[in-house]
Symmetry: C2
């Protein structure tokens, strides 16, 4: 005779609620705006959170289930013709948990930029390889910048899906724009810099590098005061 009284049987494991992550609260934050179907949630999170908390669609399907396990949301099966969809709604406990989370310390920002890795290891490739990597980084930023501008100017024409949230979206957008601008401008600077290099490797402390370091020492932005050495 089998007992599952006090340890982790297969059944129990499957019911174990895994811990809430920042991604869980990201989804909970969306649910605080209105109820969403899992599919909508995945789309919306991808669109609206992609520049603050970029997560895979796959995860965004899993998170609401976890919220239900924790009692922070409820799931409701709806039928549209032959097809089902699951609507998720935040609970009072969910709103309380979200409020609690807002008082905690956020993790520090994390930037992952493969193009910058190419710069650090540039001596293993050509000047053109490096320039191409930087160009792609700038092109991507310029593209995203223009998307943000398009979306946000639409808000002036009343196109915000949740008008009462406009002040939040717009303040967030100011960060995105400054960030993408920085990338475009810095790539411009970096490309004029590498254009003066005879090769990618072995240069060491050039006169221009020394000039940049003196800027850094004196807390001057190199974008505003680029080195003037020929």
């Amino acid at each position: 005779m089998l007992h599952y009284s006090n340890y982790c049987t297969l059944q129990y494991c499957q019911e174990m609620a895994s811990r809430l992550t920042t991604s869980s609260y990201a989804v909970l934050g969306l649910l605080a705006i209105r109820p969403w179907a899992a599919y909508e949630l995945a789309q919306q999170a991808t669109r609206s959170l992609r520049f603050a908390w970029p997560k895979s669609e796959r995860l965004l399907y899993a998170e609401p289930k976890k919220l239900v396990e924790h009692g922070l949301a409820t799931a409701l099966q709806e039928s549209v013709g032959q097809r089902n969809r699951t609507m998720y709604t935040i609970t009072d406990e969910g709103r309380a948990a979200l409020q609690g989370w807002m008082t905690t310390s956020p993790q520090p920002p994390l930037l992952e930029a493969e193009a910058l890795l190419r710069l650090l290891f540039a001596e293993n490739g050509s000047i053109d390889d490096l320039a191409a990597a930087l160009d792609e980084m700038a092109a991507d930023a310029a593209e995203k910048r223009s998307q943000v501008v398009t979306i946000n100017t639409g808000y002036l024409d009343g196109l915000h899906p949740f008008p009462q949230r406009t002040h939040l979206s717009v303040l967030f957008a100011t960060f995105q724009l400054e960030f993408f601008d920085l990338i475009v401008k810095w790539v411009g600077f970096a490309k004029t810099e590498i254009a003066t290099w005879p090769a990618t490797g072995g240069l060491g402390m050039t006169e221009r590098t020394e000039a940049i370091l003196n800027n850094i020492k004196d807390q001057r932005s190199v974008l505003e005061s680029p080195p003037t050495i020929p």
Copy 2:
């Protein structure tokens, strides 16, 4: 009838060399500078790549093994007293692979910022919660900025561990500094903005928000031309 002659049996899977990721090339790039022990590699990658490609120490122990499986590096067991350590050295195939990687397209940059998530969901907390989250983001950026300044001004005194690579480190540092500066400056702007809010939620299209949107529409930086409405 089933045959497993040319497919993935359990044994075969365990010996399968898993595919090379960007992190593999990050480690390979370090090995191109000089041979390293696994522990040194983990330390060095954490220190020097943390702002371009932040990866866990755990992963940095696993990557060199993968490089050996692929023939891009060799491992040598050294004995220091009773204790072993594994030295990894890049192979010619490793240098070739790294050169090949330099010609490929980098992934677009990825930014993960929990504090910005707090801004988007600010209506679920107090003005103080939001201000605290932004302050922490700025404090973290200011701290990292000063670390970068310290390290780099040291290069003026000949403290670069690989002097021939100074031009690369310094150009990379200019990005880091501009990025951390942006965070500090933007938080300053955002905090003056939220200081005008009577509450976190329900404000929608305020006059100041409209002024910011007009800035965005006209491609003016909000940091340089903040809204002048009281």
